[in-house]
Assembly symmetry: C2
Homo-oligomer: 200 residues x 2
DNA sequence: CGTTGATTTGACCAGTTGGTCAAACCAAGA
DNA sequence: TCTTGGTTTGACCAACTGGTCAAATCAACG
């Protein structure tokens, strides 16, 4: 019989996760310290460890929450929908995700850069299964002549790469663009790109 | 009157830089330790610091060497060449770079993810200047009707994103593809993509 | 108000970190 | 062979790391 979390527990747990996301997404697991996270959360270090048993536990909690939301937009790709529209919409959803949750994107990027030590298994099983499934759908569309004949796996990679780039390389993108805000132009560009690429 | 480096100096300096590249590209600056680098280089920690004054110095040396090679392939984009071919060739060069120097790509990615603390200035000045210049060339091609009318900045970003993805997210790409090697398919995909995108 | 359980913290610990230094070692030319 | 200057290392240090713990504080309910 587990007790329901108190108001304070709820507030502090979310504050810690938010602070952890800030720090981990910037410096990766090894490069982040509990002191940094504690300070960002406005708590003392021992107080952090009252809510989470270890640094690892905070990181794991963040990654788990991330993976759920990360796989969702691809899941929504509908085999019964209009092919080009389905793919363009997926790219749009991913771009919106980059815009609204850049820290999550960077947390994921950090994890992958370091060799995905904590989520490699999920990638190899859950992610691969889902991607293979969606790739088969896209392949079907291509064979039916509804879209151009391109490699569906690399198509999916391209959506990941193009959209996450705006979150992960945000600093560089803004440094090059100067004052111009990135996301309006990016959305137009992506729309055009996938229209042209996919139309048979 | 600086003395020329001895044979031993040359060997150890390159060994250290190579080891540093290994470690920094995986864990970022803060997440990497001198002990790790020393061990990877086959040297003792004090011996490392005989050749480089600090951890920072190793990292800086790597970043400087990187930036030279990083900006080169875009520099080679020739205003007098055939537009579509010039851009496709640039994408190819970048993809080859990802394939042959994935650690360099990841070192760069780590630096950007962390907010580019050490190279932000270079990005804002040198990189921006060069990108703006090349963007103007591409814009010119578009206005002359030689290629389709797309935003040149985002076109360049797309080449960066698509090619570096294969180096930076290597683990994920391979986890999803299984046994299939990534780069053959990637090359074909990129060729098709930019052909279709750019043809007027 | 008093009590009880949740919350917070200062003091502390052992291991790791980047970095120093004097002493030892070694290669090669005289 | 001896000398000299480049090279290597063990011992060491102060600061920081993740984590512990007992004691203090707080919130809320009867």
């Amino acid at each position: 019989m587990t007790k329901p979390p108190t108001r304070i527990q709820l507030r502090n747990r979310t504050a810690i996760l938010d602070a952890g996301l800030d720090v981990f997404s910037k410096y990766g697991f090894r490069g982040s310290t509990l002191d940094q996270i504690a300070q960002a959360a406005g708590l003392s270090k021992p107080n952090l460890l009252y809510y989470f048993p270890s640094k690892e536990a905070i990181h794991t909690a963040l990654l788990e929450r991330l993976l759920e939301n990360w796989l969702a937009p691809l899941q929504a790709l509908d085999p019964k929908g209009d092919p080009v529209r389905e793919i363009v919409d997926y790219a749009r959803r991913k771009l919106t995700l980059s815009q609204n949750y850049p820290r999550e994107s960077r947390l994921f990027a950090n994890e992958i850069l370091q060799g995905a030590p904590r989520i490699y298994d999920t990638l190899r099983t859950d992610l691969k299964t889902m991607v293979d499934g969606k790739a088969a759908i896209i392949k079907g569309w291509a064979q039916a002549g509804q879209i151009a004949d391109i490699d569906p796996h690399h198509l999916i990679f391209s959506i990941w790469a193009l959209t996450q780039h705006y979150a992960d390389f945000d600093v560089q993108v803004r440094a090059v663009l100067g004052d111009k805000p990135p996301y309006d132009g990016a959305a137009v560009f992506l729309d055009t790109l996938y229209e042209k690429l996919l139309r048979p």
